[in-house]
């Protein structure tokens, strides 16, 4: 009976990279489609949903998919992880590929804003309206978080300055 030699696929460089960035389950996928059947990214019509991404990686595509934003639409819902019968952990493969994209700066400008917000104030999401809204509901202008806490901000900055993210010039 003809068989698929899964170990043979390891020769593709992109597979090695995905494994290195945390997606080591990628080699176990047999393309059964269980993940795709319940994936919100697939349902919404993004072309490079979990199963497709894994197939592209397994067959050695990299350049062709590096700029595809589909992976950034993944909300990390983890339905795929729950249903995968092969222990592939598709969410982790998607995030491994995102890390490869991020390290090539194949990311959107809105994503860059989140990184600098995190670095400056310790919060990826901020709102210009927040102080007004908080006072309106009877809360102090600032929540007891890093947003108004210089020591906490410095701690976040220290962790980020000493990370590979610092080499990308995104802060």
């Amino acid at each position: 009976m003809p068989t698929v030699n899964l170990t043979q696929m390891n020769t593709h460089e992109i597979i090695q990279k995905v494994v290195e960035f945390g997606g080591d389950g990628v080699v176990k996928c047999i393309q059964c489609g269980a993940c795709a059947s319940i994936c919100p990214v697939s349902h919404a019509g993004f072309p490079l949903f979990c199963k497709q991404l894994i197939r592209k990686v397994q067959t050695g595509y990299e350049e062709e998919i590096l700029d595809d934003p589909s992976t950034w639409a993944c909300v990390a819902c983890n339905r795929c992880v729950e249903v995968c019968p092969r222990g592939v952990n598709p969410t982790e493969v998607i995030f491994a590929f995102r890390r490869i994209q991020a390290n090539e700066l194949a990311i959107s400008t809105s994503s860059l804003m989140s990184q600098s917000n995190l670095y400056e104030k310790g919060h990826a999401v901020l709102s210009g309206e927040s102080k007004k809204l908080r006072v309106k509901v009877g809360l102090p202008e600032n929540p007891p978080t890093s947003v108004n806490d210089e020591k906490a901000q410095k701690e976040i900055q220290t962790l980020l300055d000493n990370s590979p993210m610092a080499d990308l010039g995104i802060f």
Partner: protein
């Protein structure tokens, strides 16, 4: 009284602080003291450090969890994404002594340390498992008897079960939020896409129109199958999407109905007699009429 660390995240304190107020008001009468976690940062959101470098993500999450550990309390989050990020980080760190060492080496540079002693809960889990529906019922001043809710638990409350302290019997057919609504007297039947994603978060910031496909499908099925008086969710992202996108669909002429949306503790606070000007006053889809109905004289419990 049991204490629990309230991890705020970003969306709740900055975009929906009326949800924060509701959290602060409902827990003490139910026997849970809310402890702040001063200096807590973003969890960090899936689109930030987790999308760049695993160890940086784990260190930032561990720093947040360590703030609770220092006070000897567990963590409760109101935001599903924060719940997912923190639970997953804890799951990964606790599974490997080597990983824990890497994280603590990073934390040592900021005079912090992660032990693994605090658990991560979602507020829905605290309400359902620790407080329980019977205690909730005893603290109500208004009953929602006869009203119908369409519930939206939100993705990260349901999966992945391997990294969560509390899980649904079958996360593809969730029942906890329906139980919590039932405690208020609400009818909260299941519907065909009850477990489906609303499209918020990373999907909306990547492609708004594709994200709206999911949001609209959800809203239309809720309307057609349940004709609900309100939507009730335990996810702050789902709240922002179902409330905000709904208005956009109406303005575009794509839907012709209006369903008010509540985060569960907002509704609970109203039923406990809280001031709507504090706990439910920020929304794109109007809620004044249903709030007046909820706190009307005929709904006051004897």
């Amino acid at each position: 009284m049991e204490k629990c660390g309230l991890y705020l995240g970003c969306n709740i304190p900055f975009k929906a602080p009326d949800i924060e107020q509701s959290l602060r008001q409902v827990f003490p009468p139910l026997g849970v003291e809310v402890v702040d976690l001063p200096g807590a940062s973003c969890c960090p959101a899936w689109g930030t450090a987790p999308s760049f470098d695993i160890d940086t993500w784990l260190a930032l999450s561990a720093r947040n969890i360590a703030l609770a550990e220092k006070q000897g309390v567990d963590v409760m989050t109101g935001c599903n994404s924060c719940f997912g990020v923190l639970s997953e980080a804890k799951h990964v760190i606790d599974a490997s002594a080597a990983k824990k060492d890497v994280v603590n080496e990073k934390l040592a540079t900021i005079d912090s340390a992660y032990a693994g002693s605090s658990k991560i809960y979602h507020i829905g889990h605290i309400l359902h498992e620790k407080i329980g529906t019977e205690k909730i019922k005893k603290n109500l001043r208004y009953s929602l008897d006869g009203l119908t809710a369409a519930v939206q638990p939100g993705c990260h409350l349901l999966w992945p079960t391997k990294s969560m302290e509390v899980t649904e019997e079958n996360p593809f057919f969730p029942t906890m939020l329906s139980d919590l609504c039932g405690a208020l007297g609400l009818r909260a039947p299941t519907y065909s896409n009850i477990e489906a994603c609303c499209g918020m978060g990373a999907m909306r910031s990547t492609d708004q129109e594709k994200s709206f496909i999911l949001a609209k499908e959800k809203l239309v099925r809720m309307k057609e199958e349940l004709n609900p008086d309100m939507i009730v969710t335990t996810c702050s992202s789902c709240y922002l999407q179902l409330d905000g996108a709904q208005k956009i669909f109406r303005d575009r002429g794509e839907i012709d109905f209006e369903i008010p949306v509540f985060y569960y503790t907002q509704l609970l606070a109203l039923c406990m007699g809280a001031d709507p000007a504090e706990v439910a006053c920020i929304s794109d889809t109007p809620r004044a009429a249903i709030i007046a109905e909820i706190q009307s004289e005929q709904r006051r419990m004897k």
